[in-house]
Point group: C2
Chain length 416, copies 2
């Protein structure tokens, strides 16, 4: 099994100014290729430390992926450390990356400066994988480390650029190391906690053949993914999946990279139905999840974020008596919000949320983390039915909002 | 200057299943105390590696902060590795943490099991810092490492528990070590690319005293933060900031941890004004940014995500002729959206977006990445003025949406 190190470069990580999201993405991609990540480390913008740490990683793992330390104002340190590590005497110009730099700056109306042009200069020893989304290219170096067999890939630190480059980098790794085949099948579940799930499928799991490995991948927004992996050969996971479906029923909602918003969107498009949202406590997050799926305008008409009671009444038609008697965080209110937005935006389905994300606003009967969720559906005869659910979480504001939103989507999913 | 290492423990990080956000928080707190973070690393759930890596960190830095590797099903490995590292023969019971575990489980209606009770057992050598938000306590060990002067703090991995413990941990570090002063001042800018900014403030930067260090911290949502740091002594950054303000003018919008949504919220609250949003291409992201600020209900009334033309007309009052003649992605449409939502939700300010986030939907004259943005303001006489701006980016869907949203907020900020 090939091994890898993931290194991030930049003082901004060591002083805590930014969160490193790249390493996680890269680790996931390496994992899917069957490569074991042994080290994950952050290095400051310090030439000596960079050379020492990357040298150590190259001596001990087959693949080293570096992000960051590149950019118009930073290039000198990292790029020159890579030049030295790879034994290059000097630099060469990447015409391909220079053309991209010209195009990007031109599109933004930014004049080309010397520091921009310098980004197309790379150590002579490297192979450039062009970065179409940014100015700093990916540089690949081969035959490094104590065994002269390790490869190093240097990527820019900007997440969408680093992630945009990953397919090309992974393809290069697969080619360069002639990796053996690995097959995955992932089932996505929602609504059962990891520990409960583990208990429920224990017998099934114990009966899996030795060469099939099961991984639990919980995620607060997606649910728990169950990933089956087989190294070498071709796997037929069908019988195991069929068995699992018997045990878990409709807690299983998709496979692979499916998310609730993707599955809901696919279903709406197939049925030619439309969706609207009415958000209070989720504050736009639900709409953001739905619109994170490209092409959602085929079925998504829009939403109303009714952060004030005034908007709940005026735009969604929530009755003043409902708010006065039960309050905004109530089954009655969220029911009227869902039906109200379905009618106002003239859709087939609607989802509504009303709760207390925190940190303030909690009461003894409705503590922070409480939310009422509703899913409305227009029946063929034109009448509207609404199902509701009350959830309670005890997390931070941001995490509560995420959980309210995913549970609201799941409520819709189970009632379409 | 004291040095620190931050280590996360858990296979889930090395396989890329979760993003490590704790290390960034911890690094920021250590930085504020004048402690230099030298290492940041992730270790799998592997006893040998844990002992080896933490031992190495203790030998080379004064403070080691560990997160993760604790929890009812994981305790054995990490906690026992810490016992061995600290030279403890056995375990002791923390009555204080046991009482918290009883309270937490009781509130959730979960019966106390042996594995829960075991979480209050800690190596004899450690000092417990109770964790009020979760079942695993923070364990502090002193006098470790090759010089018998290093301290190790072990925290649970759940982010809100780890972050909840940080004030107590930092207070303990401050007491335990003699720390020299470090001063930071951060200026937040928007609308000038990092490379252009670097060029524009080059002379100013070159004139900074040797003991003041400048860092560029670009972020697509926040803008470019310029961070001045002085190690030792007390710094007066005032003259340098004043000079910078002359050069950058209103591109500077805040300081420290300010974001556009925080600055806008502060201004609205101070003036007793209200805000509404009309989102098309940003799909709820703008609303999410505004509602990410706790207490925003003081000034934020809500939003309409008008993903379909029908909703633009029906809810926001965009004229059919406008859509027919100019299309949804047009100055005319976004102008009517902003004024429309301001009137519909009866607010003082409104922001609207309409564009093509991609990957589909582009045309030769309106390519993917194009958006029209508008900021509307109600004047004292009741009339509404609207300013507009057309932006173009060439990124992924998610990043285009982020940039549309931040530029829309900046348009409002510059026209309040």
């Amino acid at each position: 099994m090939k091994t890898a190190s993931i290194c991030t470069i930049g003082d901004e990580i060591l002083i805590g100014q930014i969160v490193d999201t790249n390493s996680s993405h890269i680790a996931r991609e390496l994992n899917l290729l069957g490569i074991q990540v042994k080290y994950m480390t952050s290095i400051g913008d310090d030439r000596t430390r960079i050379i020492q740490e990357l040298g150590n990683c190259l001596d001990n793992t087959d693949i080293v992926i570096v992000t960051g330390g590149l950019g118009p104002t930073k290039d000198d340190i990292t790029k020159d450390a890579l030049r030295e590590l790879s034994g290059a005497a000097g630099y060469k110009l990447s015409d391909e990356q220079l053309a991209i730099i010209e195009r990007i700056l031109g599109a933004r109306g930014i004049p080309m400066l010397d520091i921009n042009r310098a980004q197309a200069l790379v150590p002579e020893t490297c192979t450039v994988i062009p970065n179409k989304l940014g100015t700093a290219p990916c540089m690949a170096f081969y035959g490094l480390g104590k065994n002269h067999g390790s490869a190093l890939y240097s990527l820019p630190g900007v997440p969408f650029e680093a992630i945009g480059l990953l397919p090309d980098v992974m393809a290069d790794i697969r080619r360069h190391f002639a990796l053996e085949a690995i097959t995955h099948h992932t089932i996505v579940t929602f609504g059962i906690a990891e520990s409960t799930l583990a208990k429920r499928i224990e017998t099934w799991e114990d009966a899996l053949p030795e060469n099939i490995h099961l991984a639990y991948l919980p995620n607060p927004t997606v649910g728990v993914r169950l990933r089956l992996t087989q190294f070498g050969g071709q796997a037929d996971f069908t019988p195991y999946i069929a068995e699992l479906q018997k045990i878990l029923g409709d807690a299983i909602y998709g496979e692979g990279e499916d998310t609730l918003q993707v599955v809901i969107g696919r279903r709406l498009r197939a049925e030619g139905k439309t969706l609207a949202l009415a958000e209070s406590c989720t504050g736009g997050h639900l709409s953001e999840l739905i619109t994170s799926v490209a092409g959602c305008s085929d079925y998504y008409k829009g939403s109303v974020t009714s952060y004030s009671n005034e908007v709940k009444m005026k735009v969604l038609g929530v009755r003043p008596e409902t708010l006065a008697e039960f309050g905004a965080v109530s089954e009655q209110c969220v029911r009227e919000m869902a039906a109200g937005v379905l009618r106002a935006l003239d859709t087939d389905y609607a989802v509504a949320t009303s709760g207390i994300a925190g940190p303030g606003g909690g009461t003894p009967t409705k503590p922070v983390g409480t939310a009422w969720l509703a899913a409305a559906k227009r029946l063929p005869d034109g009448t509207v039915t609404v199902v509701t659910e009350c959830v309670h979480f005890a997390s931070s504001r941001a995490v509560n909002i995420e959980r309210f939103a995913s549970h609201a989507l799941d409520l819709l999913r189970r009632n379409m």
